[in-house]
Each structure stands twice: as structure tokens, then as C-alpha cells.
């Protein structure tokens, strides 16, 4: 069975999603336990795969038993395996959280919701482990369609946001498809590794078609990950979607797209092409600086909790794109590490926002009024997430920022370092504002809405266990990722070290 672990990573949630669709209407109670069980299976399979990758190196899994350029293959190296573990882990935690939230928010469509939820995770995992450029497109569409639906199942404002997402997401995916077509027309292959070999063998790196393919693919992926000038779809979609949807889409969708960008830039085009021949790293790092600052400053202006967090995601995307394009080992390590750390910290804060929304029915940050006394454990979860987003030492966020800053210094991109620091400061301001409200309460003049849905006494009134557990588990994961950063970085380095960034740098 261990031989089949790579396939089982995504087959388990896939099969279960079909069963949920078939049986869920009749037996609504089985949706939740089946989903959680399948994701536990997926986590187990991906951890097994990660273990094998560490011991044996790259794993290749041929689907249908065909030779790679003919058939489709999974090629799993340290990068894939690590991201797959993060994706399935985040999926599992969000699934546990979903138990109450789905019943509260979409009561008559539970089975549809879980089917789409599992298919979304299947699509994301498939994107992470596949080694075929076109297959990536298909799975991109699986995850895109499910996320449109998961957002549109929300309340009124969510539908318009979902519509925008449909249009913009389709442009992004179509650009990606077009870029793959350009690569296919020049190389005749669709397997990522084979495309790279063909590019070298035919020596067509300086052909305009390859350049256009690179631009088109990169822009397509940027649209999907909401890199700053192309981010318009994100904040409203994530802010108004059902809370489980934003708890799963917020952490995963953008991170997986960043993984896709790294994979395509390094594996398909190669670092020589992207960094030496094109030499665009200055421009793109500047763009990411703008993204970081714009995201952070927009977040400052929000009073809606989830909208504020959505803008933080845009800033975080800026971190990672910038980190990749620093053209420096440390920057790349930092970016990959940040994918994992950020998946968990975004999950943490979105779970918090979801709990608050389900508990109080309000999306404003005034809903947090006096929460320290009412929900002490929930606030502990938030504190860890907030510290991680700010970058306070024992948490994962500190170490990823540390590597990113090192990369920025080593490659001489001081503007990036400064933007990172400013953004951390803004995060600190944002979260201390939340903590202040939660600890000291809102001033009486603003303390409206305290009476309408509020029937609970002043004593502790925690969220239910199924909501609290994933939040605290995520917080614990953040600490673990932070404390074991050396081991994780060792795994990442085994991926990064195969690329030489040549003479770039200072």
C-alpha cells in the first residue's frame, strides 16, 4: 500500500466526496464524519509520502502505467510533499471546524457543501502533486469551480463577489491554458520535466513564443493568487463567503497558486531562464513591495474583520512573490517556508473570525467586545495566530520573515526588507487594536448591538469543542512549525539547492 500512497493522497477525499454526494441527501449525519475520516486518510498518505521523499528522493508515480511523456505522472519531490502535507492538514482542520458552521449557514445543502468541500481539497492536492502541465489546468478548474460555488452559497453580497471571481478566475485559468499551448507548440510535450528537457534540447529559450508563454502563464497564475494589481476579486469573495469556505479558501487557494508559480518558474522554465536571461527580478520585487504596502494599508482601513484579513492575504502574497523573485537561495527558502506557515496562520485567524461570526452574528470588529472574559481559549488561539502574522519569535511567522529578510539583504533588495518591516508593524497595529477591543471592551458610545442577539451571561461562554479544537490545534501547529523550523528548512533546502542562481545577487 505504501507504493500507492502518492495516489491515495487525493483519491481518498475524491472517492468519499462522491459517496457524500450519493448518500448525503438521505443520511445527512454521515457527511461530516466521512469527510473528516477521508481527510485524516489524506493526511496520513501525504505524511507517508513526505517520509518516503526524505528517505528516497523524488518519487515518480505513473498513472495508467504509461511512460511519462505519453501518460501523466506524479513527480513528488521535497517541495510537493511538504505543500501536500500542509494542504491536507489545513483541509482536515477546516473540516473539523465546519461541523457547526455548515449547519448554521447552509442548513438545507449540507451534502452538496461537503461534496464541494472535498472536491476542492482534491483539486488543490491534485495541483500540488501532478507533474503534468495540462493536468494542472484541469485540476485548477476543479478547484476553481468548487470555490465559485462555495462562495456563492453565502449570503447576498457573496453572490456578486462570486460572479466577479468567476469572470476573473476564468481569465486567469485561460491565460494559463494559453501559455501551456504556446509551450506545447514549441516543444510538443506536456510533461513539466519533459518540457524543460525539450527547451534545453531544442535551445529555444530566446524564442519570442517561449517568452510570451512565460509572461502569459505568470500573469494567469498571478490573477489566480491575487497578486496586487490583479487582486480585485479576492477581498469581497472571502469576506462574504460562508465562514467554512473562507477558512479553507483563504489559507489554501493563494498558497497553492504560489506553489504553482514556483513549480512552473523553476521546473518548467528553469532558474537560468527566469533570473539570468530575463533579469526582471528588480521590477517584480518592486511590484511585490507595492503589493505588500497596498495590502497592509487597505487592511488598516477596514472595520469588517474578515475583509481586513483578506487584505492581509494580499500582503502575504506580496511577501511570497517577492521572496521568490529575490533570486536568492534564502529568499526562496523563506517563500516556501512561508507558504506552509502562512497556510496555518491564515487558517488560524479565519477560524477565529468564523467562530466570532457564528457566535455573535456580527462581522465588525466591535463584535469582539470583551471577548477575553467570554471566550478565553478562543482568544488564546487568536493571540498565537496574531503573533505569527506580526512575526514574534517562537511562532512560525517569525522564522519565515527571518529567512525572507535574510534573502532580501543578501540580494541587496533593501526596499523589500523595508516593506516587510513596515507591513509587520501594520500587522502589529491591527492586531493590538483587536486585542484592545477584546480585552478592554468598546467604549460605551460605540457599544451598540450588545443587546440584540446577546443572551449569554457575563461568565465564560466558549465556542463548542468542534470549533475550538481546530483553532487551538492550528495555534499549536504554528508553534510546532516555528520550533522545528530547522528540520523544515532542511527539507526545503534539498529542493532549493538544485538550482543555482548564478551570478545574480549583489
Amino acid at each position: 500500500m505504501i507504493e500507492q500512497a502518492p495516489a491515495l493522497i487525493l483519491l481518498v477525499p475524491f472517492f468519499v466526496s462522491i459517496f457524500v454526494a450519493l448518500l448525503g441527501n438521505r443520511f445527512q449525519g454521515i457527511c461530516f464524519p466521512l469527510s473528516v475520516l477521508s481527510l485524516i486518510g489524506s493526511v496520513a498518505a501525504s505524511v507517508t509520502t513526505l517520509g518516503r521523499v526524505i528517505n528516497e528522493g523524488t518519487i515518480r508515480y505513473r498513472l495508467g502505467g504509461w511512460e511519462p511523456p505519453m501518460g501523466i505522472e506524479f513527480r513528488i519531490d521535497a517541495l510537493n510533499a511538504l505543500v501536500a502535507v500542509a494542504v491536507s492538514g489545513v483541509g482536515l482542520l477546516a473540516a473539523i471546524y465546519s461541523k457547526r458552521a455548515v449547519l448554521a449557514e447552509t442548513p438545507d445543502k449540507v451534502s452538496q457543501y461537503y461534496t464541494l468541500f472535498l472536491l476542492l481539497i482534491t483539486g488543490l492536492l491534485g495541483m500540488v502533486i501532478t507533474g503534468d502541465a495540462f493536468n494542472l489546468y484541469v485540476l485548477l478548474e476543479v478547484s476553481a469551480l468548487t470555490s465559485y460555488a462555495l462562495i456563492a452559497m453565502g449570503p447576498k453580497r457573496a453572490t456578486l463577489a462570486a460572479y466577479k471571481y468567476v469572470i476573473i478566475g476564468t481569465i486567469g485559468a485561460s491565460f494559463y491554458l494559453l501559455g501551456v499551448g504556446y509551450l506545447y507548440i514549441k516543444t510538443g510535450s506536456l510533461n513539466m520535466f519533459d518540457i524543460h528537457e525539450q527547451l534545453i534540447a531544442r535551445d529555444i529559450f530566446d524564442s519570442p513564443a517561449i517568452l510570451v508563454a512565460f509572461i502569459v502563464i505568470t500573469v494567469g497564475v498571478w490573477i489566480k493568487m491575487a497578486f496586487f494589481p490583479l487582486h480585485a476579486w479576492l477581498p469581497n469573495s472571502y469576506a462574504y463567503a460562508p465562514t467554512t469556505s473562507s477558512a479553507i479558501l483563504g489559507p489554501l487557494m493563494t498558497k497553492v497558486m504560489i506553489y504553482v508559480m514556483i513549480r512552473l518558474t523553476f521546473t518548467v522554465f528553469g532558474s537560468d531562464f527566469a533570473f539570468i536571461q530575463l533579469d526582471w527580478s528588480d521590477i517584480i520585487v518592486w511590484m511585490s513591495v507595492v503589493a505588500i504596502l497596498a495590502g497592509s494599508i487597505s487592511a488598516l482601513a477596514q472595520t469588517d474583520l474578515r475583509k481586513m484579513l483578506s487584505f492581509l492575504i494580499i500582503a502575504e502574497v506580496g511577501y511570497m512573490v517577492g521572496g521568490v523573485w529575490l533570486a536568492d537561495d534564502m529568499g526562496l527558502v523563506g517563500s516556501i517556508y512561508h507558504i506552509i506557515a502562512d497556510a496555518f496562520m491564515t487558517l488560524c485567524v479565519f477560524l477565529f473570525a468564523g467562530i466570532i461570526f457564528v457566535k455573535t452574528g456580527k462581522r465588525d470588529i466591535t463584535a469582539l467586545d470583551g471577548l477575553f472574559t467570554k471566550m478565553p481559549l478562543t482568544m488564546v488561539g487568536l493571540l498565537v495566530g496574531a503573533f505569527s502574522l506580526i512575526g514574534i519569535p517562537p511562532t512560525a511567522g517569525f522564522f519565515s520573515k527571518w529567512y525572507l529578510i535574510q534573502g532580501g539583504v543578501a540580494s541587496g533588495h533593501w526596499e523589500y526588507v523595508i516593506a516587510l518591516l513596515i507591513s509587520s508593524l501594520i500587522n502589529a497595529v491591527l492586531f493590538f487594536r483587536i486585542i484592545e477591543i477584546a480585552y478592554f471592551g468598546v467604549k460605551p458610545a460605540e457599544g451598540h448591538g450588545h443587546h440584540d442577539s446577546d443572551t449569554h451571561e457575563s461568565g465564560p461562554n466558549e465556542a463548542s469543542f468542534s470549533m475550538l479544537f481546530p483553532l487551538l490545534a492550528t495555534a499549536a501547529a504554528l508553534l510546532v512549525i516555528g520550533l522545528y523550523n530547522q528540520d523544515i528548512v532542511a527539507i526545503i533546502s534539498s529542493f532549493v539547492s538544485q538550482f543555482n542562481f548564478g551570478v545574480i545577487g549583489i
Partner: protein, 234 residues
């Protein structure tokens, strides 16, 4: 879009896409390796079968997504208040024509599905045609009449079973000790040689695809046409 100047000419057999061993292999070796004369079907359902499985999943997802977005369960006051427009008996000409057409369409759809690896056709095409026959019924009578034939629950079960048939072939090969979707190993449980097993599995897979496509096409139509209430169509 200056890259056009770099592309090969129209219909150039020596362009990289056409001359690379990938395409050549598909053209020259398909018959030997899978015993299927239709290369498109062979590449679709076997060489790139994993893609096609998720293609089926895309359709399935779309169906579930549309139900998730639009469907309104239970009695909605707004619909109940609306006077029904379809009390009149259906027009004789339309009714007779559809009675004649629908069986023929369905027969043709079955032919397209079953003959997919010898001539142009396959699960997607046949499934769409089959779904169209139900849509024709819904258009010519009304949605209720079509619902009698294919109620919503049956539609969903059909769609799920279709995906399961496809994935089941993959799972079967996985359980027999080969990689996912490696149909050749299925010769152990099929009366065929390994190569013919690929061909037979492709037929099975196409039938699964056809189930899903048929069901979801009608489901999409009926949800969109009735604005999610499943009561009255166009």
C-alpha cells in the same frame, strides 16, 4: 502577440508539436498498445485517462455546484402564488414530433457511446446527445413531465454512479496491484488479453462518463430553467 511569427505554419507536419515523439507515438503505437483504432479515444481514456477522470469530475462538480447555488428546497411562496401557465394540453404536432424524435435521439446517443473507440464519438458526445433528449422532452412538454421520467434524486445518483464507474476501473487496477488507472491489469478479471482489456475498460469508462454527462446536462438545464425551484421550466 509578436510570438505568432515564431509559430509553425498552418498544417506543417514538421512542427515541433506534430513531429515530437509524443504525438508520433500516439499515432503509430496506439493500435498496438491498446487495440483501439480511434486514437483520440485511446489518448483520452487511457494515456491521459487521469485527466479525463477529472474532466468528468469537473462536470459533476458543475452539477453539484449549480444545485448548491440555485436550488431552493421546499415550497416557495413566490412560486406557489404564480398561476400555472401549462394547464393546457400540449400541442398535437409538437407532441407527436417529439414522440418520434426522442427515441431516435436516444438510440443514436447509445450508438455514439458504444462505438466511441471505432468511430468519432464517445462518452461525452453521447452523453450530451442523451441529455439533449430529456431537455427536448422538458422543452416540448414542461419540466414536470420530464421530471416524471428522471426525477432529481435519480439524476444525482446517476451522476455519482457515473463518476464511480470511472474511478472504479482505476480502483480495480489499484487493488490488483498496479498503478491507478492501469487497465491492462484488469485482464485478470476480464476474459481478454491485457491489451484488449485496455480496450474493454475504455468502453466501460466511456459508459461511466456518459452517465455523468447525461445526468448533469439535464440537471443543469432544469435548475437554470426553473430558477432552482424544479417546478416550472421555460
Amino acid at each position: 502577440m509578436s510570438a505568432v511569427s515564431d509559430f509553425p505554419d498552418w498544417g506543417d507536419p514538421n512542427s515541433p508539436a506534430n513531429s515530437y515523439r509524443l504525438s508520433q507515438h500516439y499515432v503509430t503505437e496506439t493500435i498496438h498498445e491498446t487495440s483501439v483504432p480511434n486514437m483520440v479515444t485511446a489518448v483520452l481514456a487511457d494515456y491521459r485517462g487521469y485527466d479525463t477522470m477529472f474532466e468528468t469530475v469537473v462536470i459533476f462538480t458543475a452539477g453539484i455546484a449549480i444545485i448548491g447555488i440555485l436550488r431552493r428546497f421546499g415550497n416557495d411562496d413566490k412560486d406557489a402564488a404564480k398561476p400555472t401557465l401549462y394547464t393546457k394540453k400540449p400541442d398535437l404536432i409538437i407532441d407527436t414530433t417529439c414522440r418520434l424524435m426522442i427515441p431516435i435521439i436516444q438510440l443514436f446517443a447509445l450508438y455514439v457511446i458504444a462505438h466511441g473507440h471505432h468511430s468519432p464519438g464517445g462518452g461525452f458526445q453521447g452523453g450530451v446527445i442523451f441529455g439533449a433528449s430529456f431537455i427536448l422532452l422538458a422543452v416540448s412538454r414542461d419540466l414536470q413531465a420530464a421530471q416524471k421520467w428522471v426525477p432529481e434524486k435519480r439524476i444525482l445518483n446517476l451522476a455519482g454512479i457515473g463518476v464511480l464507474i470511472y474511478a472504479g476501473f482505476g480502483l480495480g487496477s489499484l487493488l490488483l496491484g498496479q498503478n491507478f488507472l492501469d487497465y491492462a491489469i484488469l485482464h485478470k478479471i476480464m476474459p481478454a488479453t491485457p491489451i484488449e482489456a485496455r480496450s474493454h475498460s475504455m468502453l466501460g469508462v466511456e459508459i461511466g462518463v456518459a452517465f455523468t454527462v447525461t445526468a448533469i446536462m439535464f440537471s443543469i438545464y432544469s435548475n437554470l430553467a426553473s430558477n432552482g425551484s424544479m417546478k416550472e421550466g421555460l
